[in-house]
């Protein structure tokens, strides 16, 4: 029986400025077991980063506010912890790495200083011991001659090496959960693969669960057990990697899958994209948030928000036309597109 590590229930995050309220995250729920990997995918602006940063309660307040929901981490209700208790979790039990390694390390301190700081924030050990540990971490993430590199500044490292340093910082206190917000997006393709490999290897060693945020489904297929598809602050579909890969249900997920680069795609053909753009999150949407861009949308889609429905074991989708007895035909959409192109 897998042990539950994190349970997020109906998370709602808003940004309030003046008279407008932007609902960046609108009722996200999911669970994550120990040592499990979950991928969060979706176009940019769909609320992936806000969801992730909310887990550590690090969204800027004001203007942000977690207006509703629960976050249970092991036995603890994170939204009820004091600031001090929350700090004891950050970097210790839950760590985070960010998209752009060129800005996520502090340029005026050596990488050693930054790793040691993380260690000494949570462990009562001497500077010397912490330094030894930092060197070991650098070695573990594949940085050559770590004794020398530890005294260097971030600008003396390449992008990939900096992301390795970030991983070293994040894993230094052996967290139970690592949140990786597009950890490879800013890197060269060859380096991307190395970083992903590294993360996979380290996960085995550290027994960490990972929340992998990405807009690259390829990364999800390679690294994750579960997937959460987000659109405009909502989860529109969730399930295991196999379910989402082999049997995607939501028209938005289809759009994402179709716009992936695959080997079979004919190079002459431009990649299909999802027409239109995400809705303005500061406006109240009555129906399905994707309706305006959905090729299958009917009247009901604009007037009533669809419920999350379990269509097979642990595979959830929120669409009026995807229930146990109603099914859309994905082929139809692809045929439509062929006609448009033809």
């Amino acid at each position: 029986m897998p042990e539950e590590l994190l349970r997020v229930e109906n998370l709602q995050v808003e940004f309030r400025s003046g008279l407008t309220t932007t609902k960046a995250v609108n009722g996200v729920s999911f669970t994550l077991n120990k040592k499990e990997n979950i991928g969060i995918v979706g176009e940019s602006g769909s609320g992936k980063s806000v969801t992730a940063t909310s887990l550590l309660r690090l969204i800027p307040e004001p203007p942000g506010i977690i207006s509703d929901g629960n976050i249970f981490f092991e036995e603890k209700d994170l939204l009820k912890l004091s600031k001090k208790e929350m700090r004891a979790i950050r970097g210790n039990e839950i760590s985070m790495i960010f998209q752009d390694p060129s800005t996520s390390l502090n340029p005026v301190y050596t990488v050693g200083n930054q790793i040691i700081e993380s260690i000494r924030t949570h462990e009562k050990i001497s500077k010397k011991e912490a330094k030894q540990k930092a060197i070991k971490m650098l070695e573990l993430v594949g940085i050559p001659s770590p004794e020398k590199r530890i005294n260097m500044y971030p600008h003396e490292f390449s992008g990939g090496m900096r992301q390795r340093v970030m991983i070293a910082i994040a894993l230094a206190c052996n967290p139970k959960l690592l949140i990786a917000d597009e950890p490879t997006t800013a890197l060269d393709v060859t380096v991307q693969a190395q970083i992903l490999d590294l993360m996979k290897n380290l996960q085995d060693e550290f027994n960490t669960a990972i929340i992998m945020i990405t807009h690259d489904l390829g990364v999800v297929w390679e690294t994750c057990d579960k997937v959460l598809v987000m659109y405009a602050g909502n989860v529109v579909e969730s399930g295991t990697v196999e379910q989402i890969h082999d049997n995607p249900m939501h028209p938005y997920t289809w759009g994402l899958l179709d716009s992936q680069i695959t080997e079979s795609v004919n190079n002459d053909e431009p990649l299909p994209t999802i027409p239109g753009s995400p809705p303005d999150l500061s406006q109240e949407v009555r129906g399905c948030p994707f309706a305006a861009r959905c090729p299958f949308a009917q009247d009901i889609c604009f007037s009533k928000k669809p419920e999350m429905v379990e269509t097979e074991d642990n595979h959830y989708v929120s669409c009026h036309f995807q229930t146990k007895d109603k099914r859309l035909d994905r082929k139809e959409q692809q045929n439509d597109r062929a006609i448009v192109k033809g």
């Binding site: 800027p60 700090r87 760590s95 996520s104 390390l105 502090n106 993380s118 924030t121």
Partner: protein, 321 residues
């Protein structure tokens, strides 16, 4: 680094030479015959002529100039006729007084201005932020002489807490010394304090939303350390620039403040010398102030390197793999 410093010191020479030329020309262009002004209206024509000759003012301008530069190169700043003292001694008499005033003003400005700016930035758009922003805006536009006079009126004349003029010597006791120091320091500190608050606030605002600040928070670091260690050091460069300029000008003597409070520093010396047309003193002190500026400038440039490891003066070893 050493090489860089030597290069910079050599580069100071032309700067100082240009200042020397400009000061020389300006002192010769001030209307009124220095000899006549020095001797006063009762002096006879013969006396004035005699003094003119003693001062060398009857020689052609270029000869005067080469005499002046020649003396400077031998370390001779000349002698003051009104004070009957070598300029170097005069400066060394007055400069410590200016330093005392400058340092205490600077301490006030830094101790209040910088934290105010940091707090203001971390609580952007709060009442506290508006208060700091408003006060510091008033502060930078405050006429110093008016402020000085108001402080004297209130604290010396009305309340009698502090003396209104002069400098207390240490011999009269530390307390007397401090009492004399407070009003002039406050007056002098107002503008730099407000400026530091404004610069600190704006550069902190740029920095607090950076990713590395978020990284620090995500490590569980205390907010106080996030702000003071991670954010502030990155926001420090613009502040350092402004501080350098302020330190130079404070050390150069606060003309207005020293005049209001009769503080026997460099500022008062210059004003006095200009009034008495003691052009030798004017030349010497202005050149000395220029020297302070270039030295402080150099120190600031070296400090940039300490604050920001990306600046590399000694070699152009770039990033490795």
């Amino acid at each position: 680094m050493g090489k860089y410093i030597i290069k910079r010191i050599i580069n100071m020479i032309p700067t100082l030479l240009i200042v020397a030329i400009i000061v020389f020309l300006i002192t010769r262009m001030i209307p009124g015959d220095p000899a006549a002004v020095m001797l006063g209206p009762q002096a006879s024509v013969q006396e004035v002529e005699k003094l003119t000759e003693e001062l060398g003012l009857n020689k052609p301008l270029h000869i005067q100039f080469f005499d002046y530069i020649g003396n400077l190169l031998q370390g001779d700043f000349g002698n003051s006729l009104t004070y009957n003292q070598p300029i170097a001694d005069l400066i060394m008499d007055r400069f410590p007084n200016t330093v005392i005033l400058a340092i205490s003003a600077l301490i006030i400005a830094i101790m209040i201005g910088v934290p105010a700016g940091i707090i203001s930035a971390t609580r952007q758009n709060s009442i506290l932020d508006y208060t700091v922003t408003t006060i510091s805006l008033i502060g930078v536009s405050m006429p110093v002489f008016w402020l000085g006079v108001m402080l004297v009126l209130y604290f010396s004349v009305n309340l009698g807490w502090f003396p209104s003029t002069g400098m207390g010597s240490m011999d009269e006791g530390f307390f007397t010394f401090i009492r004399h120091l407070i009003l002039p320091s406050l007056t002098l500190a107002t503008i730099p304090m407000s400026q530091f608050a404004r610069i600190t606030r704006s550069s902190m605002l740029e920095v607090v939303s950076q990713d590395y600040v978020k990284t620090a928070r995500s490590k569980g670091v205390r907010e106080f350390i996030v702000i003071c260690k991670h954010a502030f050091k990155n926001a420090f460069t613009p502040l350092l620039t402004v501080m350098g300029l302020q330190i130079s000008s404070l050390l150069g003597g606060a003309v207005l403040t020293e005049t209001i409070f009769s503080w026997p520093g460099m500022g008062l010396l210059i004003i006095d010398a200009i009034e008495k047309r003691d052009f030798v003193v004017v030349q010497g002190t202005v050149l000395f102030i220029a020297l302070i500026f270039v030295v402080v400038n150099l120190v600031v440039d070296i400090l940039y390197k300490v604050v920001n490891p990306k600046i590399n003066y000694s070699s152009n070893k770039g990033g490795t793999s």
